[in-house]
């Protein structure tokens, strides 16, 4: 992949309980690229994603956001550029999906009116009636769709997703694959942690982690 990466991590080492869970990892995310991270449980995939997200500082190595060290990047830059779906959907349960989208768009420095939020939610398959109900009443799959809509609403150009197909039905998975590809085609850089073989097939590159080390890298 040519060009300057949007996010680059070099020589990453991270420890937990005095044991290295990531060691000497290099990862770069280029615009228009989907990078998948695969590996067995406990391989360090989620830890790597949290390092890339900037919420966990590695013991060694550096993450750069558009050439700037992550810990020196401004709050505005992090909020505008990095979008995350972790193990939780990150949606307030007593707010509707529309209210959640508008709130997170505001936090990312964007104005999003209700009509625009509804349009984004329709794109992920949430009908108006559902979009206006509190998220507490959603199924896991519906909440996951709303979380994907949250990413779209914030306008981030780097997407970091941890098991994004969790709870999604077949139709939802197909929608997720299309969304990821569309996002990459729009110039975003995506990093997806997944065990889902179908999702790994959507990726341009697959990094296989074993015991915190990069064991293999496959290009699609």
């Amino acid at each position: 992949m040519s060009g300057e990466p949007l996010l680059r991590a070099t020589g990453i080492a991270a420890a937990m309980d005095r044991r290295y869970v990531l060691l000497d990892l290099d990862v770069s995310l280029h615009p228009g690229e989907i990078v998948a991270i695969a590996g067995p449980n406990g391989a360090g995939k989620t830890t790597l994603l949290r390092v890339l997200e900037g919420v966990r500082r590695p013991e060694r190595g550096e993450v750069r956001l558009g050439g700037v060290p992550m810990h020196e990047a401004s709050a505005a830059s992090l909020a505008r550029r990095v979008g995350v779906i972790g193990h939780h959907t990150g949606l307030y349960l007593d707010l509707s999906a529309v209210e959640n989208l508008r709130l997170f768009a505001t936090l990312a420095g964007r104005d999003l009116d209700a009509a625009a939020a509804l349009a984004i939610l329709a794109d992920v398959g949430l009908a108006r009636a559902d979009a206006c109900r509190p998220v507490r009443h959603y199924s896991r799959g519906m909440a996951q769709r709303a979380a994907l809509a949250r990413l779209l609403a914030t306008g981030a150009d780097i997407w970091l997703l941890d098991e994004p197909s969790t709870g999604l039905d077949r139709e939802g998975c197909a929608l997720l694959h299309r969304l990821l590809r569309d996002a990459a085609d729009a110039g975003r850089a995506l990093c997806v942690v997944s065990h889902d073989p179908a999702l790994l097939e959507v990726a341009d590159r697959v990094l296989h982690l074993v015991a915190g080390r990069l064991q293999a890298e496959e290009a699609a």
Partner: protein, 227 residues
């Protein structure tokens, strides 16, 4: 990031908290019920020969408010925890400051609500309806602001701490002690009809306490929330 942006985002997060509190109602009900129970227990506890003494009013009032506000503090970040949204809310274009200020204002809203309920109850139950209230109200306002600032800081830092329910008051109350003593003194002197100069001195101490923590709390919170 500009002050305007911070204020705008604080407003958005505060509206979210008010909406969540209005829809779930659990924290408000819990806090108000706890406050009422506290006052009733104190009222029965201080009953002597069929009457209660007004001199216990300062202690009962301030202790009830502190305890009830602590219950609210324990639930202050509950919506973020439940949603797994804490890191997302911290990462706004203005950094962690809007989250801190919105939570402090929400806490102030809860403790203001408790005060509106507890103060008349204490005055009626302890036969103290004729005491002058001006200085006490000023002390309550300053005390609640200080409690909201320090409480939000401690509660925010302890979001992921095990045994937080036990540790929060243990950390919080020693820090609040100067403000708490000053508040109790103002109420006591006011009831006893003491000098306004002494009341002024205690109120000044509370102003200084709040001024220190209005600057220190958001700064410390931002430092501790940034990896």
């Amino acid at each position: 990031m500009s002050v305007g942006t911070t204020l705008r985002l604080t407003g958005a997060l505060l509206r979210k908290d008010v909406r969540v509190a209005a829809r779930s109602r659990e924290t408000a009900l819990l806090v108000l019920l706890f406050a009422v129970l506290c006052v009733l227990i104190f009222a029965f506890g201080f009953l002597r020969e069929g009457a209660v003494a007004a001199e216990v009013v300062p202690g009962v009032l301030w202790v009830t408010l502190q305890f009830a506000s602590t219950v609210a503090l324990l639930r202050l970040f509950a919506a973020e925890e439940e949603a797994g949204a804490l890191e997302l809310a911290l990462r706004s274009v203005a950094g962690p400051a809007p989250l801190f200020f919105s939570k402090a204002l929400m806490q102030l809203l809860f403790s203001g609500m408790v005060t509106a309920l507890v103060l008349p109850m204490v005055l009626v139950f302890f036969d103290a309806t004729r005491i002058p209230l001006g200085a006490t109200l000023a002390a309550l306002a300053l005390g609640l602001v200080g409690q909201a600032l320090v409480g939000t800081l401690v509660s925010g830092l302890m979001v992921r701490v095990q045994m937080r329910d036990v540790l929060l008051p243990l950390v919080l109350y020693p820090i609040l002690t100067p403000s708490l003593i000053a508040g109790v003194k103002v109420t006591a002197i006011s009831i006893a009809g003491g000098s306004t100069e002494v009341i002024g001195t205690w109120l000044s101490l509370m102003v200084v306490f709040d001024a220190v923590f209005v600057l220190a709390s958001p700064w410390l919170y931002a430092r501790a929330s940034t990896p």
